[in-house]
């Protein structure tokens, strides 16, 4: 069952601009995670934010979590052509056995 829904489905920006992707979900969660996938490859974990956290940073990445609205956002600042990839949010639901629920992803294209 799909829980996380990313928005937008596709995003095209110029190098140096910021990219913002949003994720909405439906149930109570332990944490929310963001992953990146280059074309034809596996997913790479970017950042995990726990349900009691509101914001987290890692390098050029900033993630926010609003549990009252059941939503999260991923901001990539000063984007580079190498950031071109698909980005997925995934939720770890309360009471789960560790399986994540993934959204369908945002396809980001950064033009040089």
């Amino acid at each position: 069952s799909q829980q996380g829904e990313e928005d937008p489905q596709a995003l095209s920006i110029q190098e140096g601009e910021n990219a913002t992707m949003n994720c909405s979900y439906k149930t109570s969660i332990n944490n929310l995670q963001w992953y990146r996938q280059n074309s034809g490859r596996g997913l790479v974990h970017l950042i995990l934010i726990r349900s009691n956290e509101r914001e987290k940073h890692s390098g050029r990445l900033r993630v926010t979590l609003d549990t009252s609205k059941k939503s999260s956002s991923l901001l990539i600042t000063a984007s580079r052509a190498a950031d071109t990839a698909s980005y997925f949010c995934a939720t770890d639901e309360e009471g789960s056995q560790g399986n994540l629920i993934f959204g369908k992803g945002t396809k980001l294209s950064v033009k040089p």
């Binding site: 974990h45 995990l48 056995q97």
Partner: protein, 114 residues
Amino acid sequence: DVKVTQSSRYLVKRTGEKVFLECVQDMDHENMFWYRQDPGLGLRLIYFSYDVKMKEKGDIPEGYSVSREKKERFSLILESASTNQTSMYLCASSSPPGDNQPQHFGDGTRLSIL
């Protein structure tokens, strides 16, 4: 670093064949997962395992089975391959729930059933 290794990057098989996809992780993780990924459908969970010899059905288990005889290895089996099982298959592993740790993915196997 955690390493999750899938046995093949690309695989071509024929309809009706029994197909084995292998996945090995080197971090002593309890949990292992098999997903398939199709355009427009995102990642869908096929099966997962939270211990040796234990397995749980995911969202789309039909036509698949799994085997976990050793902690580090999780195999996905297509009992009788069909063309609608042509897809990208991704394996992942993680520590137990409650640890707030991410899943670690292999590079995927792109499987074509002719």
